[in-house]
Point group: C2
Chain length 251, copies 2
């Protein structure tokens, strides 16, 4: 893996894990195949049996499941430095889709080299395991969000969580972050209808809690710039507590 490719992964990993120099070098030596993926393209599909994991180097992606009657539920959003399908290392068949939200650069890492790395460097194995456990913690909070919160609280919670994660990797500051989601995308995350998401966002804007602007972009897809104006109030409204993100490295 070239140093530049490893940067995103290492930034993310070291947010919540202690890695020593040898660990870092081992990761930088990982063989990797990069590929550009267009927005909205399926990176790995439900039912696939993958032989490699996808490192999200640039761009955003999401994982979602589709019910038999065609309804989509997004179960997670992914930001640079994450390996959204790391579970495929031990779960050979995908139980959901991994889809590019924006144009992405994906670094494919073979299961073989990851497994070898895990055996060679138990500390990295623990770190990777830990990232999948944090992923699960986020899934649990996501369940609470769709199961028990009102539409407004739910929406606020999602935006706060994304902001928190993006800020940790330097992609957000002062409540501002760019994320090219449509209201339909948000609806799929939240278990709501797109129409209702629209009304909820209007409400949040009217309350002066946030602003959303669509910046033009060079590409087809517009970029939504979210600005959380009153984080305190939003957190209060959403019942947001970042503890579940487990962002401090541990013993």
């Amino acid at each position: 893996m070239s140093a530049s490719l490893a940067t995103a992964l290492l930034t993310k990993l070291m947010l919540s894990n202690h890695l020593d120099g040898a660990d870092v070098q081992a990761i930088q030596r990982l063989p990797i195949r990069t590929q550009d993926v267009k927005a909205r393209h399926v990176i790995v599909a439900d039912g696939d049996r993958s032989t490699e994991c996808s490192l999200l180097v640039e761009g955003f992606a999401f994982r979602s499941k589709t019910t038999p009657d065609g309804e989509r539920q997004t179960v997670s959003m992914h930001i640079p430095g994450e390996i959204p399908d790391l579970q495929s290392l031990h779960l050979n068949v995908m139980d959901h889709d991994l889809i590019a939200l924006t144009p992405c650069v994906i670094g494919f890492i073979s299961h073989g080299s990851l497994k070898a790395l895990n055996i060679e460097r138990p500390n990295i194995a623990a770190a990777l395991w830990r990232t999948t456990l944090i992923d699960a913690a986020i899934l649990r909070e996501w369940i609470v969000n769709v199961g028990r919160r009102s539409a407004t609280a739910r929406t606020a919670h999602l935006l706060l969580a994304l902001h928190h994660r993006l800020r940790a990797i330097g992609m957000a500051q002062d409540g501002e972050f760019g994320l090219p989601v449509t209201q339909t995308d948000l609806a799929d995350c939240l278990g709501l209808s797109a129409v209702h998401v629209n009304r909820v966002l209007q409400l949040l804007r009217a309350e002066g809690l946030l602003t959303v602007s669509r910046l033009p972009s060079g590409r087809r897809r517009a970029r939504s710039e979210f600005h959380l104006l009153q984080q305190e109030k939003l957190e209060e409204l959403a019942g947001f507590d970042p503890a579940y993100l487990h962002q401090q490295p541990e013993s």
Copy 2:
């Protein structure tokens, strides 16, 4: 760990992992401290920093989160042989409660001995990692359930999923299984109100899809015996596909 204590764990682990004789012996040698926990008692609480993991030897447990305004959302149900808080091995602070649904026998295993085992036997480390990944897969399906399915489909899906898991460990057959849940418990799992769960169950019974009977038990708490009469129709109704449970061992 005495052979009898290890049995439940090994039964569960070997459903979805290949373990060799040495692996089995290593697990059987794990030091373990057992403890009885009364129904409804908190085994590990949100915010706790545990130093050991809880093996559910006998009984049922669930994990849930409580929102600031006191609403409970259950995020998973646990059956004998599972280690519901295995994530605490790498996530030092609990982000949810682990609660005994029934009187339970819990086997506490220290993080130290588990970490030593993981290093000594990478195959077991992979197997344990895999169980946490299956746990996450179940969380994802749970999100879809509360996010996108109707109350009836949701309820049917939960019961089918529990039946499927219980049958795998020999605790259910022919659609029948005993589980001492109240309708409020189900409501907390489903993101519904208890009243509505009641009406949904009535509907499912009226359709001849299932029966629920409360068997008297020696203890305070009654035991609900569920009987899924028409699994095909229930699966159709719920959009249930057991693939996400990943019950076959893999490469």
